[in-house]
Point group: C2
Chain length 291, copies 2
């Protein structure tokens, strides 16, 4: 399967920044990332703007974007209200996530996992009935910063409900950045065996195991991975949560192994440099620094 990288900096990246980008800066970031060859962009989320003020203008970002045909511009929603907001500005691709950790679920979704799952399945069904494509996923699928180990069966059971509700694509998220490659192999093998829809991974890079986890999953047949330019990101509801795998390093790993991603690494490095300049700090991405 060809490698498919989804860029999450405008959503998962910016939601964790104290410094709010302006509407035009956000639109430029998304357009720049598309210009780097990224086939899928997480543009923003339709969540409570009091809880995540960084995402308050997601409607305006979607409305202001020049869209390139064939590119997926995805929005994250948590419930039917979020889905309504997404539909109102022409979003065609949504993502909906449930946390496998009760503590994280209460912080992230304001309710326990069972209720969050019910809402998420409603979103999946509603979105499908409106003809949208839906990525559904499980957060903290590899461990939780609050709760520690997360039982694999719990993750698989949540995923099964989301798949049964009609999701087009499943995503397992290492929201706390705690996965190791052996664990990755175990859960991925189960997911690939159990679910008939494509599996993607959203991995954070707390300990530098991110690309080892990618490699372990890719060897088993996973070809869809999220990244964030520069390694931006983190969960606003997990203090100290680490950034995503840097998209440039993720793409470079595949390029080095002879597998194309369609991403122009020189352009993407230039986007990272602009982000670093705007956010006034060095980001973790490696590509283009020491060569």
């Amino acid at each position: 399967m060809p490698i498919l990288i989804e860029e999450t900096a405008p959503r998962d990246g910016l939601q964790n920044e104290k410094d709010l980008l302006t509407l035009s800066e956000k639109i430029r970031l998304v357009e720049d990332l598309v210009d780097c060859g990224l086939p899928r962009i997480q543009v923003g989320s339709f969540v409570n703007p009091r809880a995540v003020p960084q995402m308050a203008d997601t409607e305006a970002v979607f409305q202001g974007l020049r869209k390139k045909p064939g590119v997926i511009y995805r929005a994250l929603v948590l419930n039917e209200k979020g889905l309504e907001r997404a539909a109102s500005c022409g979003v065609r691709d949504v993502a909906v996530f449930v946390s496998a950790s009760e503590t994280h679920s209460r912080k992230n979704s304001g309710c326990e996992t069972a209720e969050a799952l019910k809402r998420a399945c409603d979103v999946v069904r509603q979105a499908k009935s409106q003809g949208l494509s839906v990525q559904a996923g499980v957060m903290n699928a590899f461990g939780c910063r609050f709760e520690g180990t997360v039982p694999e069966q719990r993750v698989l059971s949540l995923a099964a409900s989301l798949v049964d509700a009609g999701a087009d694509e499943l995503c397992l998220a290492d929201t706390s950045g705690l996965a190791n490659p052996l664990q990755m192999e175990k859960i991925v093998a189960e997911a690939l065996r159990n679910f008939p829809i494509p599996l993607g991974l959203h991995l954070h890079d707390t300990f530098g195991f991110g690309l080892a986890n990618v490699y372990a999953a890719w060897k088993l047949g996973v070809s869809r991975f999220d990244g964030a330019c520069g390694g931006l990101g983190g969960c606003p509801f997990i203090p100290g949560a680490p950034g995503n795998i840097p998209t440039e390093d993720l793409a470079h790993l595949f390029h080095a192994m002879g597998l194309p991603t369609g991403i122009d690494l020189e352009k993407l490095t230039a986007v990272r440099r602009r982000l670093e300049s705007r956010l006034k700090r060095i980001l973790p991405g490696r590509y283009g620094r020491s060569v």
Copy 2:
């Protein structure tokens, strides 16, 4: 096989620092690392002190060390003169390396690869005749910053000569930090098939692929890896060469997968903090930062 981590910060780490540590600082660093549970330490090298002034006092470091029984205190030597210096201060474990890249060989060893190999094989034989243990290795085994691709057959042929000369242990070094995990699997599989002595890997982390390379090699059966506390290091003869894999992250990867290394990560993190304070910069190692 149990995981065996060799700490290279006092040698590969410090040789690349502008700021020279004093003799007592070097001795303390080695003793601190042993106190972290590291079973093998590369203490220093016996090379031309004009070319690598950081290693000029290696005799004195060896003489001043309080040695702990069972720990390997290794010295790098390039030729018989280096071996004589090592023997003169009671070194029992040496390493000798040949570069698979002609350009790097001339810069690093002052001669072409064929001549460097002859000298290295002489060192192996001489050291064995003196009852020392010898790790012999190939530098730039996965690519060269100057020459690009390094043919796999060249690497395997150099390794074969070193093994035939009587080395106790083979080491393949990604001196330029260019390896990717697929390439790693290919070369490691060949090396494991061809050579009857233990195989170790010395990996640098230019692009963040280091732990992915470790994981790929470990899956094939490699259990010996070098690291440097904090991710120190680089080759003085390769401008911009990256640091080693941080020992704390390497050990943490194995601990996370349930495999003991004997290393106390809290103590090792404290050593990194002291190095950061002494060298006045943040080092790349991740463990102990965001948890």
